[in-house]
């Protein structure tokens, strides 16, 4: 039982800078072995020593043009007034580009500047100067010269220079070899994902880390999963260290959890330099050395694992080849949302980034270390230093980019309510122009309108019902976007309804049945479009909210509601059809609502925005959305309203 097991504590948590210093001091002198390989296969490898040319290029005096080789001195005096004739084979020798010059020649006259006179003679109207149009010996490369310095990463043109200079083999650092050891009794290989039981976790960190090793120019061996058993772990880690790997990564087993043995084992087999770094995600990292080899215990949560790898393994894999890690691409941006952070922890916050109204805006997204999709969705990352308690709205931040910088100006920022059709839209944009990216942050309809007012987004998704008029969005725009000219474009109408377990075991027929004592309900948070619609539907059916069991239990997304129903925590909840379909639930339609894109006129002109509107109105988009089920796309792309900031235009 957990309470009986011995618990580790972090020996002494280090700051990130402190840990990096210790790590670098102990590993910066390590190098992979030097190997001598074919120059033609040395692309992107790192030279272990200076490379000297074996031969000169060119290795002979050659014609640089098609024409006639001559002795320049013999052409002096030739001019327009006094053309000069040369005898072919005696004083003028036909040459093509690359041909060696005849012994006596020292210049080439271009074919275009020569006139043939019969079979044997050519006439020239200008003198040649010595060495004109001649590629002289050693003009490009001189034998014995240094061609490439050591510690240089070879580019295609470098390889060309090596081959040209007769350098066929070259000494480079071996690619760093990394042995990756996944550990954990709960882990299941990805191939068996479909069979994973509750409590089992798909092992995918190993593949992610292997990909990162590749990006550092290294090679990796992904070892078989080992269970959380002390003896097995000792054997596995000792085996990895004894292999030909230059670096060993153990994942996970690096936190202070009760089954986390990695630190003790590294300490037993070698030396633990650091256990625990004041960074988030990535805190429970272990840095150690066994038999002279760096061994890194990387945390189990995927984002933590990636951050720990970036901080400690990326520089190591470079220094093993005598390189410094390349600096990340960055961009300055203005923070769009207040983002608190713990004092004493370096925090890395994932953000979406785009240029709105000329200003680069960064909006934080989910922070959970377990959310691999947060890295998939993020455009970048900001680092909040440990001496800072967070970042305020409007503060300038330096964003380390996770996408090519050139794409930033083509990123559309969408903040507001989420709908599955937004994914379709994002995909269509990328399909038509791979540079255009739709980054979205889901904060609910009202949050989206507020972001628009603050100039933090190009568009918002909104489905806010006005319970007085039965109309959507307009009254909220009047209230929240005074002074901001807006175009409202209908994306789709969608069905909201009650989700119930497959087969509807409680036989719920509609909203009226929610008051039954044997039925429990799960609600959405106050202020969400769905909650407003639900309350409106209750009022229309004269159902008293207080009479519904679970009305006070709130969730924040459609999917969360669906999950509650699927797991039996509630018998019913209100959500869109797509969420029922995703989890295989039954769906009882309650109402159709309009989901609009709310777009400030200041978002135009923008090629991405134009393309987006074109897509929404296209037949292919409608077809795909229709196939999702639960959508009416007959009026998709229609401008349903134009607001000049003061009033609605006709």
């Amino acid at each position: 039982m957990a309470q009986k097991r011995k618990r580790n504590v972090y020996l002494k948590m280090q700051t990130l800078d402190g840990a990096l210093k210790v790590w670098s001091e102990r590993t910066c002198g390590l190098r992979t072995p030097v190997e001598n390989i074919e120059a033609a296969r040395a692309l992107h490898r790192i030279t272990a020593g200076p490379v000297v040319a074996a031969r000169s290029v060119p290795h002979y005096h050659g014609a640089a043009m098609d024409g006639f080789a001559v002795r320049a001195e013999q052409t002096f005096g030739a001019g327009d007034v006094h053309p000069m004739r040369l005898v072919v084979g005696e004083t003028a020798f036909p040459v093509d580009t690359g041909d060696p010059l005849p012994e006596e020649a020292n210049a080439v006259i271009m074919i275009e500047q020569v006139e043939m006179v019969g079979e044997r003679e050519v006439e020239i109207r200008a003198a040649a100067f010595p060495w004109q149009h001649v590629r002289k010996v050693g003009e490009d490369i001189v034998a014995g010269e240094m061609l490439i310095p050591q510690h240089h990463r070879l580019r295609p043109s470098d390889i060309g220079a090596l081959l040209a200079a007769g350098v066929l083999r070259i000494s480079v650092f071996a690619r760093p070899r990394v042995s990756i050891q996944p550990t954990g009794t709960e882990l299941v290989p990805a191939e068996r994902a479909a069979e994973a039981a509750p409590g089992e976790i798909i092992e995918f960190n190993g593949t992610v880390l292997a990909g990162m090793v590749t990006e550092c120019g290294g090679e990796s061996v992904l070892r078989e999963i080992v269970a959380d058993d002390y003896e097995s772990l000792v054997k596995a880690i000792a085996g990895a260290v004894a292999s030909d790997a230059d670096v060993v990564i153990v994942n996970a087993g690096s936190s202070a959890g009760s089954e986390d043995f990695t630190s003790s084992i590294i300490g037993e087999l070698g030396e633990v330099l650091v256990h625990g770094v004041a960074m988030m995600p990535g805190k429970p990292v272990i840095l150690g050395i066994i038999s002279g080899k760096p061994v890194i215990g990387v945390p189990g949560y995927p984002v933590s694992a990636i951050m720990a790898f970036e901080q400690f393994v990326v520089p190591l894999l470079h220094s093993l080849q005598a390189l410094h890690a390349p600096s990340f691409e960055t961009a300055e941006a203005t923070m769009g949302r207040k983002t608190p952070s713990k004092l004493g922890l370096e925090e890395f916050v994932r953000v979406i980034v785009g240029r709105v109204r000329g200003e680069m805006i960064a909006m934080p997204i989910q922070r959970g270390a377990g959310l691999i999709t947060s890295l998939v969705r993020a455009d970048g990352m900001i680092r909040i230093p440990q001496e800072q308690e967070g970042v305020e709205v409007g503060e300038k931040v330096m964003v380390r980019l996770l996408r090519p910088k050139g794409q930033l100006d083509r990123t559309l920022i969408m903040i507001g309510s989420h709908d599955n059709t937004i994914d379709v839209l994002a995909n269509e944009l990328k399909r038509r122009d791979s540079r255009i990216h739709l980054s979205s942050s889901n904060v609910g309809s009202l949050g989206g309108l507020v972001a628009l007012r603050r100039g933090q987004a190009h568009l918002a998704g909104s489905h806010l019902l006005s319970t007085e008029t039965g109309e959507y969005n307009f009254s909220y725009i009047e209230q929240y976007l005074r002074g901001v000219p807006i175009r409202v474009v209908q994306l789709a109408k969608r069905q909201q309804g009650l989700l119930v377990r497959p087969g509807n075991p409680k036989d719920i027929r509609g909203i009226e049945d929610l008051v039954r004592p044997d039925v429990s309900f799960i609600n959405r948070q106050a202020g969400s479009g769905t909650r407003i619609l639900f309350d409106y539907s209750l009022a229309q059916s004269f159902v008293e909210p207080g009479s519904i069991r679970g009305y006070d239990q709130e969730e924040f997304t459609h999917m969360a509601v669906a999950v509650n129903v699927l797991s039996g925590r509630a018998d019913a909840g209100m959500a869109i059809y797509a969420s029922a379909k995703a989890l295989g639930l039954d769906f009882l339609p309650v109402a159709e609502e309009r989901y609009d894109l709310v777009i400030p006129e200041s978002s135009f002109p923008n090629p991405g925005m134009d393309l987006l509107l074109e897509i929404i109105a296209s037949e292919s988009f409608r077809e795909v959305v229709k196939s999702l089920g639960g959508y009416d796309v007959s009026a998709s792309g229609t401008v349903v309203g134009r607001w000049n900031g003061e009033e609605w235009l006709a």
Copy 2:
């Protein structure tokens, strides 16, 4: 004979933009086949369709912390004043991170916030709120949700998300396959470089282009060299087109030279879209289509080949995978030297780039399309538009970088006289810190001092003899660097002498023998340090310059002088020992001269500069330089003078 062969002319030269437009219109719809591969092996591949999650992550409600799972409602009321006791196994269940929650639980209390009371009970002092420290089903990924859009290049974290979501196979575009056909009777494979006769040229472009294909995510097949014979070429090109390649590159045979058949053959087998583009280097490019496959005739000069590939093949290899080519990294710089360019030609000029006195400076280097080393040495490239006649000194230019941008601030710009020890220095800098780069432009000693005055370099190499004092550099600094505080550091003393053919067949004993009628001489250009030294030596020996045959024949580098002697064009020339050694010539010492580094005080503080001075004074540097021969390094690193801009300091 050349004058009899038929000559092609460029059908119609296109502008670069015009050619790109035609090319893109005809090829932008082409895609490589879609293939279904293992997700774990899909790193950096491009998705051919949107990818949907096969399962939810997590797929069960799990503990996010080590501790006790509880039903939150049962803990309400617990507080510091009113601690609450829970019964283990009944109302509190021990869980580790990742464990599934027991059916009735909906929250986790961290182990740190629980006190054990005997074996069976735990005490809590705060209520749990529902779902605290719980990873809920679908929190990261919901089954059926779009995970990755199409046309997305998969990063390690994306692969992680795929595996987590149970996506084991994925549809991606096949890597573009490129068949590279080297053509040319004069070509010799690089393996046979040592045997290459005059007129034979080492084939290395194919390997360079193959490397560039790799960098675009493609695969290449480098075919065997084919001679310039019409029938063989037809067969080879038709064979390449009939292979499984998506793209065929023919190199070279693309100019209007007499043996250049490629254009006719592409026209015969398919269609020539463009022949000749108004760009330099790269003009004689051919763009064609055979049987629906893009076929590109790439020029033979290596820099031309690379430029043509970058302009036309890089975008193609990306669009075949539905991507846009990434934009190049750029930096704005100030042009340090007037650079003329032809109207009507887009010219690409290679430059070295570094930050001098706070300003980013670009200095052009050699422009020859045949000089592969110009790309090895360049830090970047500027593009002079066809409607512009060149770039003036001080003009702002946008430099496309050929090195990581982060290295620019660590690049030392050295302009002036070249010496082989500079290569040693550059190598030592890189050995000690791979980020530090010494970029040099060789314009002679005086040119270096002028560049320092203009603030265009961090240091200059100089060996200017004052014939009045017999001293080096000081009088020139007084004259050219008034107002510029300078530190003069001795790099080495080096021997200058007469180069003669091996075995000294003309039995030349010294300067006095140069006046012999059977001896011809090759001189250096007026103003060069070597010329000044030579004239000084003549004067000291009372030799009349006019009595030396060839005194008026000038070359611009030590190596060019050596080449003249080696090839027999001259019997003797004055140069440094290293140039004799490089080409295996005999060397008759004439004088020892001081080669100094002239460094403006404004170049400090600079970590690279500090390291450079440390290296010069080091024993290891001296050893390497001594081994080159012809150097006296006993005082290397000595500050031989300090000039405050007005006078020399004691």
